[in-house]
Symmetry: C2
Subunit: 339 residues, 2 copies
Amino acid sequence: MPKTVDEISRETGFSVTTVRLVINGQSEKYRISRQTRQIIEDYVALYGYSLNHAARSLKLNRSDTVGFVVPDLSNAFFAHLMAALETLCHARNLLLLTVASHEDPVLENRAVASLLARGVDGLVIAPCQAEIQPQLIKSRGKTSIVMIDRDFASGLFPTVVSDNFSSGLVMTRGMLRKSDGKTFPFLCGRAESPSIRDRIRGFSEACQEVEEGGEERILLETDDSIEAGSRMMQRLIDRAGGMPPHAFMCSSLLILAGALQQIKAQIGRIDPAILISTFDDHTMLDLLPNPVFSIRQNVKALTSKIFEYLTRPRAEDKKAACASSVIATELVCRNLESR
Amino acid sequence: MPKTVDEISRETGFSVTTVRLVINGQSEKYRISRQTRQIIEDYVALYGYSLNHAARSLKLNRSDTVGFVVPDLSNAFFAHLMAALETLCHARNLLLLTVASHEDPVLENRAVASLLARGVDGLVIAPCQAEIQPQLIKSRGKTSIVMIDRDFASGLFPTVVSDNFSSGLVMTRGMLRKSDGKTFPFLCGRAESPSIRDRIRGFSEACQEVEEGGEERILLETDDSIEAGSRMMQRLIDRAGGMPPHAFMCSSLLILAGALQQIKAQIGRIDPAILISTFDDHTMLDLLPNPVFSIRQNVKALTSKIFEYLTRPRAEDKKAACASSVIATELVCRNLESR
DNA sequence: CTGTTAGCGCGTTCAC
DNA sequence: GTGAACGCGCTAACAG
């Protein structure tokens, strides 16, 4: 089993300093004798050396880790974000510690507290609540903290989000063009989330360009789930006397899945002429024969901005603290040719 | 900003022991005087207390963390597994540290080394290689290690996998029943993986029940990706003179996505009569009008077994080390009624 | 009821 | 070229 510096020094007879110099490759610099070095290197080759990060962290007050608190990794977008963050961390010799909050403020707070107690050097949070725990604010001086995906506008932390307003605007316009100006419903899960609110604003604005009013086209649910999607679609079908909508938009892939399930359950099949749109993109959308719009977030741009904030010196406090970046998205179209 | 025990003791004038007893809620037990307790509690309420896990780990030689090395969190199955593991960890006051290896042995080794150096109390690995790094073997005494999802049969670590052989057998039989005994191709990504090999064995055995030979029905690719799925489907289409298969089976959702994309690209549409089957289940499969078989792994059973191995005292070494659990799966059927 | 102390393994500074 | 010693913050054993 691997040894500590102390054990190695005791068992080879050299002092910890000498051993450390050899292990850290500084034997040249401090001109350790060739044979001393050889003995120690052989010993390490045989037994291995295990660096104790706990001791290192305690001494250096630095853990070489970055925390990532994420609502839900079943959400493909967050899974990709995590992968990208991990790659960036890796390049800087940092370990990314990812913890899921499952959209639960209590779990989120616990995750944050846990990561801070572990002395993460940076903390990336995709929050599920507007509330900021006092501990977070107090940690600002020591740890870089970046909020992402949902801008609750605390003004306390740098924030990186996608441009949800423009996304909603552009996608809705695209839909309207394909539906000859006929408006359509927007099924929204987790309606209180800032990103969803922005998407709704975009949707409304685009709708107003072709028609006045129409707030009744927006359906709301508090959670973002398949069930919420089903419920909203059921409401639509009931309202239309048993008919599915000719077109509709969903705030997330889960809502879309629920909506489609419900159409299938009620109508028996999904008319391939129904115009569909959804936020977030997924390969599985390829499976639909329908015309589909979706919004793909720019993960690379998001993560590089996150890292910029994370590694930025926190000296320029007042102004920099509130820095907020909005990243452009991409509209993806499927099966639109035949229309 | 939050204080350490030492600071609190110094600034309140009480000793570290007294402070600690109050903070840890043991003031009753050790009959700390009411006013002493009040003073300390007030102080903590005002400034907060920040436990330094690095120091704690160093002292206790225990980090209250469990490491999880996973090939790819874009894979919905692993994302669910992570969520379930996190819940179990949470119940035991452990923090789950998840790191992705991206199916790269080098990254996997680095992740393992990194987590071990951080003193994780347990380590769950979904390996992407048969090779076992020496460090892992050496750590066995100190840290519980469990291998999951892919059984490379090292015989060195307890292993938890789904019953891929039976899954392949049962799903293939189901398909054959629906196709009136007509056999069909099996598109396999990551063919060298033990779990895929088991799936292939199940497939072959079921095929032999209706027909001799037929190894040529199995298509292989080394990676598990959409592209691999497309390539294999293209081979099938070419082989059949431009026709898509009447039925086929895929080793994963990614392969399925690629296969369907390719049919769409070549044929223009996906005939809803095509009989489809795939390993791993996903809500998005609801979107297909086709009859679909899929295999859903039992995440709850998997994770509880993993935890059993993780927390089992490693005393019963020789035999227990090789312990291996195979968990039953569930066959999910969609849109089969009309046939 | 409260206080003192040793030491976990590492990094650093200074001394020979 | 090499060694000794201190302290990071916490825990636990022991001492009043």
